[in-house]
């Protein structure tokens, strides 16, 4: 939802144009499964598909985030064996505690789960903007969803006003000087915060008036729906449900089983991986399909 807060514009993306329910279900599936699956093959599939879609959404800037995740991955991987000393193959001893290969692999698996989650959450933020979120849950809990929407508006407003106050104070010589003590800095921060509060209070009175003037509380609220389920949405939903179902069946059959400590034991890779990968590739496939269609239709002109 940060995308809505910072007001950044979206790149073109086919999946983002689908109904929010489809978007939401996809991310529930993708993130939900990534939390439980520890099998390296599936983790690899998760990382690759997540990274591709993240790059499609963010363009070149996406590389920065992905590369930024790399050190996180390393740290999480090497830390695990420090706490988890189980495992058959000690690499070296850390004082009296063994540092084992199995625990290291286990750490890598946990770190991969973390990276996958970060990637999908990153995509989620881009795709499921605040208005889509409220559209989904607006009818269930109207007052809370309105509250959320108002908060989205307030945060950037506050940031802007704070900068304005600090600038205004600086231009009458009340800014923080170069050699201010921590106490002075705190005091100044307090003053700015106080001013911001009265400003916000005054603004909220106007907002309240404006809401009541437009009938807030005069009748039972309804919610305006920007999105409608189209044929494509229904098809996508069906495909997603089939693939999720298949993946769950595969999980029940033990295809995802993976233990790292004390010894590494992995279930053989089977059709479950195909179902899982296909599921995660849905947004990317949609993106590619629309791009190709666009080029074909253009070349016909």
């Amino acid at each position: 939802m940060w995308a809505a807060v910072t007001g950044k514009t979206m790149r073109y993306d086919a999946f983002s144009k689908c109904h929010p329910a489809v978007n939401f279900l996809f991310f529930v599936g993708a993130i939900g499964m990534s939390v439980v699956i520890q099998h390296p093959a599936y983790l690899l599939a998760g990382i690759i598909t997540g990274a591709i879609y993240y790059l499609l959404l963010n363009g070149k800037k996406g590389w920065k985030t992905i590369l930024g995740l790399l050190p996180m991955f390393m740290i999480l991987t090497v830390i695990n064996p420090l706490f988890n000393t189980l495992g058959a193959t000690p690499l070296f001893h850390f004082g009296s505690r063994p540092y084992t290969l199995e625990a290291l692999f286990y750490g890598a698996a946990l770190a991969s789960m973390f990276v996958i989650m970060m990637l999908w959450f990153g995509c989620y933020n881009k795709v499921l903007t605040s208005d889509k979120f409220t559209c989904l849950f607006g009818n269930l809990i109207p007052s809370i969803s309105l509250l959320l929407v108002m908060v989205f508006r307030i945060v950037p407003n506050f940031i802007r006003k704070t900068q304005q106050i600090i600038g205004a104070r600086k231009s009458i010589g009340k800014g923080i000087s170069e050699n201010a003590t921590t106490k002075e800095k705190l005091q100044d921060g307090g003053t700015v915060l106080g001013s911001l509060t009265s400003w916000a209070l005054e603004g909220s009175v106007v907002t309240g008036d404006s809401m009541r003037a437009r009938g807030y509380g005069a009748a039972k609220r309804s919610s305006f729906m920007m999105y409608r389920m189209t044929g494509t949405d229904w098809i996508l939903l069906a495909v997603m449900l089939v693939l999720i179902g298949a993946t769950i069946v595969a999980a029940c059959l033990g295809q995802f089983a993976a233990t790292f400590v004390p010894a590494i034991q992995l279930a053989p890779v089977s059709w479950g991986l195909a179902a899982y990968t296909c599921y995660l590739l849905i947004p990317t496939a949609l993106h590619i399909k629309e791009t190709i269609q666009w080029h074909i239709s253009r070349s016909k002109i």
Partner: protein
Amino acid sequence: MAHFQIKDLSFSYPTAKGRKSLDGINLSIEKGEYIVLCGKSGSGKTTLLRQLKSVLAPHGKKTGEILFNGTPIEKVESRDQSAKIGYVMQNPDDQIVTDKVWHELAFGLESLGCDQKTMRARVAEMACYFGIQDWFNRDVANLSGGQKQLLNLASIMAMQPEVLILDEPTSQLDPIAASDFLNTVRKINIELGTTVIITEHRLEDIFPYADRAIVMDGGKVIADDIPRNIGKLLYEQKNDMFAAMPTPVRVFYGAEGSGDCPLTVREGRTWLSKTYPEPTISTLPAEELDDEIEKPALSLKELWFRYEKDSPDVLRGVSAEVPTGTLYAIVGGNGAGKSTTLKAVCGICKPYRGKVKVFGKPVDKYKSSELFGGCLAMLPQDPKSLFVKKTVREDLTEMTKDEKRIAEIAAVCEIESLLGSHPYDLSGGEQQRAALAKVLLTSPKLLLLDEPTKGIDSFFKEKLADILCKLKEQGITIVMVSHDVEFCAKYADMVSMFFDGQMLTTDTPRRFFGNNSFYTTAANRMSRHVFSMAVTAEDVVELYGQNMGAEV
């Protein structure tokens, strides 16, 4: 049946100790009328407007009656009131509730519990009528002030109100956005027959088109007539409100003209050319501009600045020299970079190229305590950003402990009676003066003002001008950024045009506005075919008088 019938309405706030904010008001407003309500700040305009919608009516003692379509307003159901009486307020930002344009448009309809089909149709309809389609999916935060206010209007019109009440809707907008907004309101009135009741400082754009103008003073209605008669009445009564009349009206009565009073620039031109087809004296002396400025108070050399690394440049080689002891005005369109220039002088923005010199010394060579303590200070666009305490006095004490100095400055800014009030309880003009007092306590030699006339009425504008003149006499140099061409023409010593990130031309106001034909004052537009170099109503009146003398 009248749309609104106000019978003997009086109102006093609980804290006013019996002083009436509204005093025996009797008004009748017909369906489809376009009514301008004018009066000084604090004359009771807003109080009256708020009485017309129960949820907004302030608490206090009320006597008399308001009938809406023949029913007492309290008895009209709140659902009906919400839908039928639309109310647009002053601040474009705070009125907006949600974060998306489309959601804001639908907000009122959601509140009334409309079904999807109706909402879709209405929202689409409104977006088209108001030309919002292009920014329909945008975040509200990315809109300009004018767009925000238009959105507020559209989201109210989506509920299809019978009456539209607007309380100084354009006071926070620049002139172009303001006249766009007012044209839309007029279009609504003409095309849809919606009754419009509006208060405004900027009467130039709406006065000629109103069916009726109502003037309030001290909580009473002192005039209620067609606009053409109002000017005469105010002139004869020597009312302060006369200063707010459109330029043609002020020129006409100022020159004691005869015949029908002109209301628009076009009518004014016709009237002038009928009286003086070939005037004997047709120009006023215009001061020459000195090319060489000795010891400028502020000099800017080739400033370049952009907000973000890959955003376009806002300042693209700004150069200017401001002579000591003058009032220097910078005019120009919205977003041209005028305010950014002032920020660059104060060091809030750091130009990546170019030099700012204050009194001959580069600004980065000053220590910040030295620069802002007795040398340079800026009054920001929103005076509220300077208030941090509970009373005006405490706010001033934050700057200096010297009681005598505070009293002195308070007298200059005429805020002695306001010292005990909370800064947020003051009107726009009062806030502006209180903030100015706070700025002046740093005893600056160079004072920067960012849109000082924004949102204040003509009466306060004159007060502000008096204060600025006093400061100039004390040798303070003032640099002002403004949209208000009338104010600049009347009071500035030099005017610069800011366009496309640069300072394009600089001249004395008469030569500057006298040579422009679009970006100029109403007085100049009205008189340029017979007089040259007449840029204020006073100039035109003077030339008129001189010609009168020459003929005799």
